[in-house]
Amino acid sequence: MRTAFMVRMAHPTGVHMIDKDQYLVKKEPFYQQQRNEVALYEAAYRNKLPVMVKGPTGCGKSRFIEYMAWKLNKPLITVACNEDMTASDLVGRYLLDANGTRWLDGPLTTAARIGAICYLDEIVEARQDTTVVIHPLTDHRRTLPLDKKGELIEAHPDFQLVISYNPGYQNLMKDLKQSTKQRFTGFAFDYPTAELETSILAKETGLDEANAAKLVKIGHTARNLKGHGLDEGISTRLLVYAATLIKDGVHPHDACRMALVQPITDDADIRDTLEHAIDASFA
């Protein structure tokens, strides 16, 4: 999104000729439904209601949105938010070219024009003043004013806004404003149940169920320690990493240390406990 000063001729193509297909999800992503969230999302999409998905890191939020975009066969534009992000990173900005300035749409504007699902990942990471620009798109107006350019964009009928955030690690400074929160319908995600998570690991990586179950057990060990020295438990994503490594022939102890223990903690006591859990599980 950040732009460097580039000295080159503007391409004559207009904004409306953006290749929509590049944003389509081509291959079906593996997604294991936990409850009835797929049907609920479809209902929200039919009515173009903005959606917020929340849940701990690595529990499948982004995967779910990707899967829904594939299922609905709509383009998906994902923006990973960070604290340096400003409103113009979302909406667009003027660039310079040989003949003066040129407007370049930001990802949110593009999505509104072409009718894509715009997914703002980890929205709380963005500064609060940034998130305000999405307000007009999320209520009945469904418009996006580009004040710098003096244009008012009517959102495409297929356009939908989705945001995700992780209520776990937010701090006081990083919370969504009530005025933002109340513009969305919500999906709460959590780590799947042990059986479900086992089958997810098995399906995603091809690891046998017995070992997958052991990995899940270690995952639960860490999740029990949340708040006792761990900010977050071991995510499904990390379990998938471990399973992938084991499947590749890495010894389970090494795989678990590498994928499950080292990434989440520097606390020697917790590391010790987790390693004991690994030893006790992969006996």
């Binding site: 950040r2 732009t3 460097a4 000063f5 000295v7 340096d84 992000m85 400003t86 113009s88 990173d89 900005r93 003027y94 660039l95 310079l96 040989a98 003066g100 300035t101 086992t198 046998d208 169920e209 017995a210 070992n211 997958a212 179950a213 057990k217 639960h220 060990t221 860490a222 029990n224 320690l225 006792h228 020295g229 084991i246 022939g249 890495v250 010894h251 389970p252 102890h253 090494d254 006591d269 917790i270 010790d272 406990t273 987790l274 004991h276 859990a277 030893d279 006790a280 599980s281 992969f282 006996a283």
Partner: protein
């Protein structure tokens, strides 16, 4: 046994050259023992030494003790140590400590048994002579006049100490006692007889093995993480119960575990046997393959505690085994009514139930099997003779071993391999045992089974294998004690108060709660620079909210300093965090900086090289500093400042008010506390402002009420303030110490001691990421303050200027 002839005995007796009649009573027996354990040269030396002891002029006692004890000592450490022992004795004889000779000789044999080599005995002797030398007193230059008060006590405790501590630990313990109690004979004797709390605490610190206090958090995490359980863990002391070793247990008040577990070195035969038998892998890879793990070349690189060469189980793992076992009971055991069962039946039920829950635990975490097996004794099948001894305990221990060895993954989720498990791999041949192993696993294959079902099985086992000899008083105990299991008190429910129970342990009346007047003290260690070690839990810090005074006084002070405040305000406004700061001339940024961009465009059009840095971005400039201000409120603050009507206390008050006001304006979290001490047992730490409090009238009221008194034990106060500050989540943590003199207290004679302790406290805080800074009002501070704070200090010579200086200093520090 070599017989001695009467003539020989007579010859030896003559060599003793003594007329003490008591010698005759023991001489023959002692000589018989001596002849077995000593060489002929050794016997000569033995008799010579005994004769010398008889002529010390201390009666028959030393000689008698020596005659009795020496053969045993020589057997343990070798007879060559005799000259050194005699040297020590003659040293004691020449000093005022000659009365300790008896005590020394008395425990020598017991000591020697715990010190298997003569080098170690030498070390022990060195400790004894060191103790003698350093604690023997002298008055007014007279040479050694009164005896060491601690020596006889130490000698009496020596065998016990060596049982608990390694030799190096004993040395540290002795050193500590000498250093701290050298000038206090009664305390010294108390210390060396292990009666003072201090002495026990230091001993606890020096004990070998895994101390509970060191692993408490790990165990707590273990309970939470692996078992999703949490309970208060209460250690009980294992050091002072010689006769009855306490056993782990749990009740409503928590899980009781020993205060120390030593690493368990497994005897190698266990491994050797199993390796020879092949079908019974105790540890290692054979098993891993059998239970469905893909065999991997990396397997051998992960020796579990039990696998591989050096078979030992760490103290931590022993704790874990105990906790796992207790968790099992808490999860799966239901209390049974005990009244109708005999003690034998109850014992069997306990064994079976322990095995049931362990099987369930192993299903949960297969790795526990190795741990349990490593800790479980392995009774030898025919070790107990049923003709003479009660063997039920032995039979049950064997059965328990067999059940653990065959515990596998029956009914485990996700289809573990059951077929690979051989129900006879325990290697015991007794048919009843084999039958019940089968029946046990059949029962467990149906699910978790219940305590009631397993009790049924246990009862039929007792009935089936009952022998007359089970009633015998002589019970076979070898290899049947399973020390990680709890005492199963939660398994039983008594309807009637039975015969076994004595009426005198009636319900204890619980004392009515005393009104709590304050927080309990927190204990902090203190650094002892002489020994370069900490004195554990040395200082008691009592904290409280400072009493309140009149808030208007502080407002008056602030008004008085309105001029300074105005100046400060200007600086503060500059310092105040601006939410956004624009950074221009960025190649990459969030927005186009039009001025620069147009200039670049003009350059470009004019054919010159354009400046590519045409963007700008923003940066949030926030301050994230937590400040803790610690005020020395010792007596000396009551002194008047030269050339002024105000006391140092009043000036400090003014300065602190101004600083607190300034920091409040900046919005940094600030805590203020004052401290004073009256010996190590009473360090007062009074909160004036908490981090969460605003600069309001309540806080001002407390600040208005500050009073000065007592001494300055700075290290403890800094540790306590650091304890709070380290919990803050801030990028930068600053501790300001405002003091007017050097650390000192009335119970410390060495002026360096508390300075060194404060310096150590600064190091500790530094390690925790806390920046300490001292503002000293003592014009002579240069002599010591840099020793404590390095370069992080300012000495304010003109104390009148403190109110202006202090906030300025703070601002300079945090700019």
């Amino acid at each position: 046994m070599t017989a001695i002839t009467t003539e020989q005995l007579h010859a030896y007796r003559t060599r003793l050259d003594t007329r003490f009649a008591q010698v005759d009573d023991i001489f023959e027996a002692s000589m018989a023992e001596a002849i077995i354990s000593l060489s002929s040269r050794g016997i000569e030396a033995y008799l010579d030494a005994a004769r010398a002891l008889g002529k010390l002029g201390r009666g028959a006692e030393p000689m008698l003790i020596f005659l009795e004890e020496w053969p045993a000592v020589a057997a343990a450490v070798g007879e060559d140590s005799l000259p050194k022992v005699m040297q020590l004795v003659s040293g004691l004889q020449r000093s005022p400590n000659s009365r300790a000779i008896n005590a020394f000789l008395q425990t020598l044999a017991a000591v020697a048994r715990r010190l298997p080599s003569s080098e170690q005995l030498d070390d022990y002797l060195a400790i004894v002579s060191d103790l003698t030398e350093r604690t023997t007193g002298s008055i007014h230059g007279h040479h050694t006049t009164f005896p060491s008060p601690g020596l006889p006590e130490f000698l009496a405790q020596a065998p016990f100490l060596l049982n608990q501590l390694a030799l190096a630990g004993v040395k540290n313990w002795v050193d500590y006692g000498i250093r701290n109690y050298n000038h206090h004979p009664e305390r010294q004797a108390e210390y060396f007889s292990l009666q003072s709390a201090d002495s026990r605490a230091v001993m606890q610190r020096e004990r070998h093995g895994t101390l509970f206090v060191d692993v408490e958090r790990k165990l707590d995490l273990y309970l939470r993480g692996l078992w999703n359980d949490s309970e208060q863990l209460v250690p009980y002391s294992t050091a002072f119960d010689e006769l009855r070793k306490p056993i782990p247990y749990y009740d409503k008040l928590g899980i009781r575990v020993p205060d120390v577990y030593e690493d368990l070195i497994l005897p190698s035969p266990v491994n050797g046997e199993s390796a020879a038998r092949g079908a019974q892998p105790v540890g290692g890879e054979g098993e891993a393959g059998g239970e469905g793990n893909p065999p991997s070349p990396g397997a051998s690189r992960h020796p579990l505690p039990l696998a591989g060469e050096g078979l030992s189980i760490s103290g931590l793992d022993r704790y874990r085994a105990t906790l796992a076992h207790i968790v099992g009971h808490r999860r799966w055991s239901q209390p049974q009514i005990a009244d109708n069962w005999s003690p034998f039946q109850r014992m069997a039920v306990e064994f079976f139930e322990d095995c049931r829950i362990e099987t369930l635990l192993i299903r949960e975490y297969p790795g526990l099997r190795r741990l349990f097996l490593g800790l479980h004794p392995k009774p030898v099948e025919d070790a107990c003779d049923p003709e003479t001894t009660s063997c039920l305990r032995h039979r049950l221990a064997m059965l328990s071993r067999a059940l653990l060895e065959t515990a596998g993954a029956h009914g485990a989720p996700y289809g573990e391999l059951n077929a690979a498990l051989d129900h006879t791999r325990h290697g015991y041949t007794d048919p009843a045992l084999r039958e019940f192993v089968e029946r046990f696993h059949e029962l467990m294959a149906t699910g978790n089974a219940s305590t009631r079902e397993i009790a049924g099985l246990a009862l039929s086992y007792v009935a089936k294998t009952r022998r007359q000899s089970d009633q015998f008083a002589k019970v076979h105990f070898d290899n049947t004690v399973i020390d990680y299991r709890d005492d199963n008190r939660q398994l039983w429910q008594f309807i009637e108060s039975g015969d076994e129970e004595e009426a005198f342990d009636e319900k204890r009346k619980i004392e009515p709660d005393q009104e709590i007047t304050g927080l309990p003290p927190r204990h902090y260690p203190e650094w002892d620079y002489n020994s370069q070690s900490y004195r554990p839990d040395w200082v008691s810090v009592y904290e409280a909210l400072h009493p309140s005074g009149n808030a208007a006084d502080i407002d008056k002070l602030l008004q008085k300093n309105a001029g300074t405040a105005k100046q400060l305000k200007r600086i503060l406004d500059l310092l105040k965090p601006q939410d956004k700061v624009r950074i221009r001339y960025q190649e990459e940024g969030s927005e186009l900086d039009l001025d620069v961009a147009i200039r670049a465009l003009i350059d470009f059009k004019g054919g010159a090289q354009p400046d590519p840095r045409i963007n700008m971005s923003h940066r949030t400039a926030g301050r994230d500093i937590a400040v803790s201000l610690v005020l020395d409120l010792s007596e000396s603050l009551n002194e008047k400042v030269a050339g002024s009507e105000q006391t140092i206390l009043q000036l400090s008050q003014e300065a602190v008010s101004l600083l607190a006001w300034a920091i409040d304006k900046l919005g940094d979290p600030l805590a203020i506390a004052g401290f004073a001490s009256n010996t190590r047992h009473d360090v007062r730490y009074q909160h004036i402002k908490g981090f969460g409090e605003d600069w309001n009238d309540e806080v001002k009221g407390r600040l208005a009420a500050i009073k000065a008194g007592f001494s300055t034990r700075m290290g403890a106060a800094m540790r306590h303030a650091g304890h709070y500050l380290s919990k803050r989540k801030a990028d930068k943590k600053l501790m300001l110490i405002l003091t007017d003199g050097q650390p000192a207290d009335i119970d410390v004679t060495d002026p360096r001691a508390l300075i060194e302790d404060a310096r150590q406290a600064v190091n500790e805080l530094d390690r925790d990421g806390i920046f300490t800074y001292c503002i000293s009002l003592d014009p002579k501070a240069d002599e010591y303050v840099s020793d404590i704070f390095g370069r992080q200090y300012t000495v304010i010579d003109r104390i009148e200027t403190l109110p202006e200086k202090l906030p300025e200093l703070f601002i300079a520090l945090t700019k």
